[in-house]
């Protein structure tokens, strides 16, 4: 991705400041995110699916890759992308990519993020993949997930191949120019290197449950 001169300057400036410790930034709660090439953490943790069964990331692992998306019911960005997430999840699950969507939000903070509403969303939207509850928010913490929706795509080798957003226009699907996640899924499924490995979008901060 080409950066213009100013962007390169801005990026370099802040990066240099950060390296020098000149920016006392504070992350919300999540530790720094997984790095590209890292394996998925906490893959054996069982999480309650909308169908009542307990499902882990290891359970859904696909032969061509595994997609873990942190999302929720209430966030406007999650809602804006929901149809596209469902379409991608349902489609790629059939093509050998394991898919699981994880809700790590504390429903004590946002009532709409409760289990019953998850079940309703899953049924109404026709999700054919697990939509599970991260009951301690520790899975999100382990991934370093910060907001919803946030996608982590692992290759067939189990290494993180893509991290970021769904596409470049949450609000207006008709104006999407780059389908980041779909492009990454195509590459991973074909065993190719993902061209754009990390992207960002605005989103709702995950409402972490208090640490035990």
């Amino acid at each position: 991705m080409q950066l213009r001169a100013l962007d390169r300057w801005v990026f370099g400036f802040w990066t240099a400041l950060a390296v020098m410790g000149g920016v006392p930034a504070r992350a919300q709660e999540a530790p720094p995110g997984l790095a590209l090439g890292d394996p998925a953490p906490m893959t054996d943790v069982k999480m309650k699916n909308v169908d009542g069964r307990e499902v882990s990331i290891a359970d859904v692992q696909g032969t061509k890759g595994t997609l873990v998306i942190f999302s929720c019911n209430a966030c406007p960005w999650a809602k804006a992308w929901e149809k596209r997430i469902v379409a991608l999840g349902n489609s790629w699950q059939k093509k050998g990519v394991g898919v699981v969507v994880v809700n790590s939000n504390d429903p004590g903070r946002v009532a709409e993020d409760d289990y019953a509403t998850m079940q309703k969303h899953a049924k109404e939207r026709g999700m054919s993949y697990p939509y599970v509850v991260d009951a301690t928010s520790d899975v999100a913490r382990a991934f370093g997930a910060a907001h919803t929706p946030e996608a982590f795509l692992f290759g067939a080798d189990g290494k993180l191949a893509y991290h970021g957003t769904i596409d470049d226009n949450a609000k207006e699907p008709g104006k999407v120019k780059t389908r980041y996640l779909e492009d990454a899924l195509k590459a991973v499924a074909a065993g190719r290197e993902v061209a754009v490995k990390e992207t960002k979008a605005l989103g709702c901060g995950i409402k972490f449950r208090p640490k035990a």
Partner: protein
């Protein structure tokens, strides 16, 4: 015209336009929120005249944004007289702008306020490559526009106040 000068002029234009007297109807709707690119927002941050700047990115639907807003406004009120410039950027979608204006009115906002109007990734990385994009996000700059402090998620008020005082003090130390 060089780019920095053009940005400063653009920022000054936005600031002047935003400070124009509002009519009764406008006052009822709340302060004007002007669409702005990240460059225009950063130009507003770096425009001369402030001894420190606090920039808060928020949205009406964002629970922690609403929760922290009174604390942010309290700190703005306490330090504005000492040269702190507040810059608010709403990340609401276009159709939520009326609700955003009502929210600002209810919280007594009487200074320029902006609406993010660009691609998310460009906006996020322009403000800080270290920002994940989660809301809210709060940035404190010194008088030279250098980032002194960044926090994503609900900002701890004591931490924010310390950062503001540090930015103001660093400016005073250079004079």
């Amino acid at each position: 015209m060089s780019r920095p000068i053009a940005w400063m002029l653009a920022a000054a234009g936005i600031a002047l336009a935003s400070s124009a007297p509002a009519g009764g109807a406008a006052r009822r709707q709340g302060p004007v929120i002007r669409p702005a690119t990240p460059r225009q927002i950063l130009a507003a941050v770096r425009a001369p005249g402030a001894r420190a700047v606090v920039l808060n990115v928020w949205a009406t639907w964002c629970v922690p944004c609403r929760e922290e807003f009174p604390d942010v406004m309290r700190i703005v009120s306490a330090y504005r007289g000492r040269g702190l410039r507040p810059v608010l950027v709403s990340a609401d979608f276009d159709d939520q702008v009326p609700a955003a204006r009502r929210f600002l009115r209810e919280h007594g906002v009487d200074f320029p306020s902006y609406l993010k109007s660009s691609d998310d990734m460009e906006f996020i990385n322009a403000l800080s490559p270290r920002w994940s994009g989660a809301l809210p996000a709060t940035f404190v700059y010194d008088a030279g526009g250098c980032l002194e402090y960044f926090h994503e998620g609900r900002v701890p008020p004591l931490e924010l106040e310390r950062a503001v005082r540090r930015a103001l003090a660093s400016t005073a130390g250079r004079k």
